[in-house]
Amino acid sequence: MKFGVIVFPGSNCDHDAYHVVSKHVGQPVDFVWHQETDLSGYDAVIVPGGFSYGDYLRAGALARFSPVMKAIKDFAAEGKFVFGICNGFQILCEAGLLPGALMRNAGLHFVCKHINLRLESANTPFTSEVDPAKVLSIPIAHAEGNYTCDDATYNSLEENGQIVFRYCDENGGITAAANPNGARANIAGICNLDRNVLGMMPHPERACEEMLGSNDGRDIFRSLTKAIAQIETAA
């Protein structure tokens, strides 16, 4: 089992992701520079948070043209796991690996705080080990997390169970007050139709240690590790 953490110019959560995979997941992990074109040898890649290309033009818009993105598209098409966090989610949307777009927060502020998150679908390789009854505490840190899509896309996300996380209050209620950025229907994370590509604005890699205020993020990495192990056992 091997993880890759993609590094773009301007990525800044790459070391956090690397730390969590190596220390808490306990699996081999490499940094993968964005000029790389070969991802063979990896089972999952994390597209980390940060400000790739300084968020020039639109968040994620220029990273999409990095050579590694073609490799990530092929990687995803092979059924391997792609996990975009924050700027990674923005990049995956810009690249067309996930539907919709992430716009400027409705309140215009850069919002950096722990938020409550409700699991909407345990039926993904990223969330099989997450307790659906639990309200997760995971931090967000973004200015462009306002998920938007047209009605047809929203309906198909709903019908296919592709909405994976929603912002909620401390009791799990999906309310406007619990929505930190104006995202449509409180959407915090979605997966693709094949369920092997996940994008989310909150940072589970920053919630894997009690001393950081929460270790709720670990269940997501544990799910992914289990999914990879199952594939390895079957092979």
């Binding site: 033009l57 639109r58 818009a61 949307c93 777009a101 716009m103 400027r104 215009l108 938007t148 047209d150």
Partner: protein, 80 residues
């Protein structure tokens, strides 16, 4: 030859930045402004040898693939 590309948010998409600008404008005393929406403007210089038709088709593609995100934005190309 020069091409101009305007990128604007689709009418159905809310524009929080435009709203904030609107509030600032109102605070200047302009209370008759209906709405302000923010967009982007690009100037693209092309070789003089390129025909207008080729320039237009190249810039249309640049606008569609790079400058605008078709999920939330529209674009308009002018060849100057």
């Amino acid at each position: 030859m020069k091409a101009i590309v305007y990128v604007t948010l689709k009418p159905s998409v809310l524009d929080p930045q435009g709203k904030a600008i609107h509030h600032s404008v109102e605070s200047l005393g302009f209370d008759n402004i209906g709405d302000i929406r923010q967009g982007k403007y690009f100037e693209i210089a092309l070789d003089e040898s390129v025909s207008e038709a080729d320039a237009r088709s190249a810039v249309e593609r640049i606008a569609k693939d790079v400058l605008a995100n078709p999920v939330i934005e529209d674009y308009r190309v002018e060849i100057a």
